[in-house]
């Protein structure tokens, strides 16, 4: 797997005269006590956040997102690499000298201090005159709509209110950089939606503050971030705008984590064709035909033009999101009706009602031997006819929605087992 995959390579060092607000250069973090041979909690992370930009670090639990944030804040010392803030090397400087606003996962409000004193903490540490402290605290509480709670103790507040105070406390010191570690993870779904909107508003009100936003929730990242970095096992595996990552994932992991794509292994019909025929433009990306291990074939775009999909004998993976799969009317000849897919036959192994529509699990390959966990997920369109468990179905793929990514055997879950019946001889065509 390549190192931090940078799509739109960050522009020159000082493009508009300002150095990046945050810059990580090859930062690795090893926690003391971790055995010497084990992989570091954070491995060789290089990342830049420009002033006013919001970058989200997205990844499953344990992928090193919080560790990356702690390295920026100065809570953990990198074992390798450097941390720069506005061009200044702060790798060995304590947190107090970095002037960064930090909102940690469980808020960490000072339980013995009242709301106003929590917000005032950083101002008092800076020895600001009393009148200024009072004015700034009032201003911050107003910004987060918590004026009437100034005299309360943190334990008298709800989770969402504590969250607001933690943000007000971090922003009171007028930081150039704000770090947020899963700020919404402790809230219920309803509250989370409201807070996402509030954070979006905050971002508009603070156009110069660079934000690094850590989350495992793709919807938060998509809603708030200018760019998203996808983390896995301590590494940054993908970095780009939400649009880029969603429509042109460069790794199977990005595709499955961002949007829950099905990963279908297969072989390129003409491996040589993958090379050199691609451009950066979405529209003119050529469609290549992939013969699937599970039977049938799909035409798909190459996710990352820079990657060599023809390598490893054309063995690739096709990523298809559940909503891009369609159930084709029974009885019609698949070859003529499927559009960008043909012969994608399977058996329905489960049907789940999800409020907005039905999600099917379909075991591909024409057999019902695959368990539900290894079948593809299919989201039916609203009001579509719902098949029953055990029904044989033919699937189609919405044109342009199948993306070819390099095969990565280390990702489980959504992988479809290779069907034993059909040796993919089409690779010679």
């Amino acid at each position: 797997m390549p190192l931090a995959a940078v799509r739109c390579p960050d522009a020159g060092e000082f493009d508009d005269g300002r150095p990046p607000a945050v810059e990580l250069r090859g930062v690795s973090v090893r926690y003391p006590g971790a055995s010497a041979g084990s992989r570091p909690a954070l491995a060789d992370l290089s990342l830049r956040v420009d002033p006013g930009e919001t970058v989200a670090l997205l990844g499953p639990s344990g992928s090193g997102k919080s560790t990356a944030l702690k390295a920026v804040a100065g809570f953990e010392q990198p074992s390798e690499g450097r941390v720069l803030l506005a061009g200044r090397d702060v790798t060995r400087r304590p947190p107090a000298e970095r002037g960064i606003g930090v909102v940690v996962q469980q808020y960490a409000l000072f339980p013995h201090l009242r709301v106003a004193d929590n917000v005032a903490y950083g101002l008092r540490a800076r020895r600001l005159p009393r009148a200024q402290v009072r004015a700034r605290v009032g201003e911050m509480l107003e910004m987060v709509g918590m004026e009437e709670h100034a005299r309360k103790l943190p334990r008298e507040l709800s989770g969402g209110q504590q969250q607001r105070i933690a943000i007000a406390r971090a922003l009171a010191i007028r930081p150039d950089v704000l770090l947020l570690d899963e700020p919404l993870s402790a809230l219920d779904a309803r509250m989370r939606q409201d807070m996402v909107e509030e954070l979006a508003r905050l971002r508009r009100e603070l156009p110069d503050v660079a934000m690094l936003y850590v989350t495992h929730d793709q919807s938060e990242a998509l809603a708030l971030a200018d760019r998203i970095g996808v983390m896995r096992d301590g590494r940054l595996v993908d970095l780009g705008t939400a649009h880029e990552l969603y429509h042109r994932p460069r790794h199977a992991f990005t595709a499955s984590f961002l949007g829950g794509a099905n990963l279908l292994d297969g072989v390129l019909e003409a491996p040589g064709a993958a090379r050199g025929r691609t451009t950066h433009d979405d529209a003119s990306s050529p469609e290549l035909t992939v013969r699937l291990d599970a039977g049938g074939s799909v035409s798909a775009r190459i996710g990352d033009p820079a990657s060599d999909a023809g390598a490893s004998g054309g063995r690739v993976t096709v990523a298809v999101r559940p909503h891009a799969l369609r159930m084709l009317p029974a009885g019609r000849d698949a070859n003529e009706a499927a559009g960008s897919a043909s012969g994608l036959r399977g058996t329905v192994v489960s049907v789940q009602w999800r409020g907005t529509g039905h999600r099917l699990r379909v075991a591909l390959g024409g057999t019902d031997r695959g368990s539900a966990g290894r079948a593809v997920a299919v989201d039916l369109e609203p009001f579509a006819a719902v098949p029953a468990v055990g029904d044989a179905v033919v699937l189609g793929v919405v044109r342009g929605e199948a993306v070819i990514v390099p095969r990565d055997e280390t990702i489980g879950g959504l992988r479809v087992p290779a069907a034993p019946v059909r040796p993919a001889a089409g690779a010679t065509a």
């Binding site: 003391p32 006590g33 702690k70 804040a73 100065g74 809570f75 304590p94 947190p95 107090a96 970095r98 002037g99 960064i100 606003g101 930090v102 940690v104 996962q105 469980q106 960490a108 000072f110 339980p111 013995h112 903490y121 950083g122 540490a125 800076r126 406390r169 971090a170 010191i173």
Partner: protein, 265 residues
């Protein structure tokens, strides 16, 4: 242990009360009875009198009370200060250093008090540092003995202190002294208060080491009680014991009140 049936629960409760009564109630009741007894020849004492209590509050004995209170105050405050400092230092140091500090401060609890007394006598009976025969050696003996308890009480609380609080305080611009004074100590205050109460109560009752090192001019109440009992003046010893208990409880109540005030705020 989960006990579901009401009858077993009642039985367990009754057994617990019986054991407590035997272990604590009977000796305590005997002391109270003896303190007011003129004579005690049958099963119950007879000729109730306040004479022993009056004796126990005489000038001579008041001096003993004062010595006990002073020693316990100084020893417990020093022990808690040192214990709390070591607990915080161990937490900051982390890793192997923390384990070493932990072991060192738990050691006195494992050493019998007589050994501590003997050790102090052996160490401080000759120049360069001659403390034998001074009040200081009594204070040192008691401090040493309660240090382990003060340390572990505060260390236990420091252990569960959320490191994120200190980290956030740092990120907001607070140096380590400010973090100590505005975050760590206030949050550890309840455990420091608890350690202070425990240390004080232990000091007030300390006999094993004190009896080996005390000079005639600095006699604590437990030493007086032991001497009286040794001479056979059981009633007077009992009256002194009542005074010891009363003064200890009074100080503990005071500490509890102060703690209540600081934690509620």
């Amino acid at each position: 242990m989960l006990l579901h049936s009401p009858s077993t629960r009642t039985a367990v409760k009754a057994a617990l009360i019986a054991v407590l009564a035997l272990l604590l109630g009977v000796p305590l009741l005997a002391v109270v009875l003896a303190a007011f007894a003129g004579s005690w020849n049958g099963v119950w004492p007879s000729d109730p009198t306040f004479a022993h209590l009056a004796d126990a509050l005489s000038a001579d004995n008041l001096a003993s009370i004062s010595v006990s209170l002073q020693t316990a105050f100084i020893a417990s405050i020093v022990a808690v200060a040192v214990g709390a400092w070591a607990a915080l230092a161990a937490r900051s140091a982390g890793g192997r250093a923390a384990k070493a500090i932990d072991a060192a401060f738990h050691l006195p609890a494992a050493v019998p008090s007589v050994v501590v007394g003997l050790g102090l006598l052996a160490a401080f009976s000759r120049p360069p540092l001659t403390l034998n025969g001074t009040a200081t050696i009594v204070v040192i003996a008691q401090t040493t003995l309660v240090l382990a308890f003060s340390y572990s009480t505060v260390a236990g609380a420091a252990e569960v202190l959320d490191p994120a609080l200190e980290q956030v305080a740092g990120s907001l611009g607070a140096g380590s002294l400010r973090v100590l004074l505005t975050v760590r100590l206030p949050l550890l205050l309840p455990s420091i208060g608890a350690a202070l109460g425990l240390a004080f109560a232990l000091c007030m009752g300390e006999l094993g080491a004190t009896i080996m090192v005390y000079p005639a001019s600095w006699r604590t109440l437990p030493v007086s009680i032991f001497a009286l009992a040794d001479r056979g003046s059981l009633f007077l010893a009992a009256a002194d014991t009542l005074v010891l208990i009363a003064s200890t409880v009074a100080v503990l109540a005071l500490i509890a009140r102060l703690r209540g005030r600081t934690t509620v705020r």
